[in-house]
Symmetry: C2
Subunit: 250 residues, 2 copies
DNA sequence: GTGACTTTGTGCATGCGTTCACAAGTAACC
DNA sequence: GGTTACTTGTGAACGCATGCACAAAGTCAC
């Protein structure tokens, strides 16, 4: 059978799109965000000696519906066998390649506080092809310290470290007030992908991707739903009533 | 086989299904996820002495478009003044109330490893109404230790701690293999919102919200885009070509 | 080879989220 | 009062993501 034409419409016609970091790509962004989930589920299955898996089984392991899983995988190609399922090792390799995990990614970690320490020692990075190649901090007390087998470097060495190690991804784990400065330095050094743990919005030029991880925001989202599950959703406390009255009055 | 009651992690909050008193107050999930962002921007503005802000200014500070911001805020009510903008303090209070930050949330933190330490010492929780009320671990070496002013408790005290402190939110910072067990215990104790840092999919009954924070997944998403920015997007390695040929032939 | 059975891949419909564009409302000034 | 300038709030259009349902394509037994 011939490889059916994928809609090539969005292949290269994205020039006019002003999406700074949006992926005007064949694979939808929502799908990209789930591929790592599938990959993890497949790895677990492989470790248990499973060699073939159906979309139902894999979907359950990854916590999605089977229809969604099949549609997601269909964007990568026809890697399954009808009537049988997907080959675990084969599919794992295809997804790894699609994400870009067949190569090694050198990462710079800036901000060696509590969180920085935790990240530097996190084994989940190395096992997926991410190698922390540089630890950087501005605090003189931290510089020179040995953390997770690396020596903490001063911030003014950032550009040099980025070039020396071929670092394309930077991780910011500094306090919020330092984040933008660090970000600027990373970008100046040539980093085009940033993972930001600091609770602040980063300004970056076009072509640089930023993803953020903010535990405080996640907790607040949970609190919103929690509030509506438990308490009296529409009851007003005296304080709220006063506020409302004030607002109406102007 | 029938569909089991299993439900995998997916924040769901359909208010319209059984709204008790005809609320029609459904705030879209995407909007809820941005409210904390607005809140943070407003707090920063307030600290700088700003008392009034336009949707354009606030949107820039929060990193969204002004149209999106206005639509988001319109779900909460008409809290702005046409021709003028929004009152910073007033809007701040309204959003806080909507999210549920006017009350204090007691949180249980399970897993006191590197990450657990970092979370226990994170000041961003306390400043937003989240109070870490219990630290729990299974490691005998950790139990009894003093961390961030609290004593680490054994896991079998979890239910008691939840009830004593009125804990509704649990944070899981254990290794992946321990996460589901901890999750089950939290749910059994009455927790209905869980923030999961462990790289695994949690199974929870209906009515329990799970949100996950997975740094490895975020890095992989960055890697995907990075791969397409830099390298040759369409070049095939010999290995890939062989795979493709096999697929076409097969 | 044939038929029964299994599972993928996908066209279509639906719903959610974002963007656009402008009417409605407010302030300031003459 | 009337006019001008400004900003919110929102209806409508659009695009992306999800769920459904089934034809296509494979395996297996005989």
């Amino acid at each position: 059978m011939t490889r059916s034409m994928r809609r090539t419409q969005a292949a290269r016609a994205d020039a006019s799109a002003n999406a700074p970091s949006g992926g005007a790509r064949g694979v939808p962004e929502a799908t990209v965000a789930r591929l790592p989930l599938y990959l993890r589920a497949l790895t677990t299955l492989a470790e248990h000696g499973v060699s073939t898996v159906s979309s139902d089984q894999l979907a359950e392991a990854a916590g999605v519906t089977s229809a969604k899983l099949r549609k997601d995988l269909s964007y990568l190609g026809s890697y399954g066998t009808r009537g049988v399922g997907y080959g675990v090792d084969f599919l794992r390799h295809q997804i790894s390649r699609e994400i870009g995990l067949t190569q090694d990614w050198a990462v710079a970690l800036v901000g060696i506080g509590h969180l920085g320490h935790a990240l530097a020692n996190y084994s989940g990075f190395a096992s997926r092809g991410f190698r922390v190649a540089a630890l950087v901090d501005t605090d003189p007390a931290q510089i020179g310290q040995e953390v997770a087998g690396l020596t903490v470097q001063p911030a003014d060495k950032l550009e040099e470290l980025i070039k020396r190690h071929g670092i394309a991804i930077g991780v910011i784990a500094t306090p919020a007030r330092a984040a933008q400065g660090v970000c600027d330095r990373l970008v100046a050094g040539g980093v085009t992908s940033i993972l930001n743990f600091a609770p602040t919005v980063l300004q970056v030029p076009d072509g640089v991707d930023v993803r953020k991880v903010d535990m405080s925001i996640e907790l607040q989202i949970l609190a919103y739903h929690e509030q509506r599950k438990n308490g009296a959703p529409l009851a007003l406390t005296p304080e709220q009533a006063a506020t409302l009255a004030e607002a109406v009055r102007g």
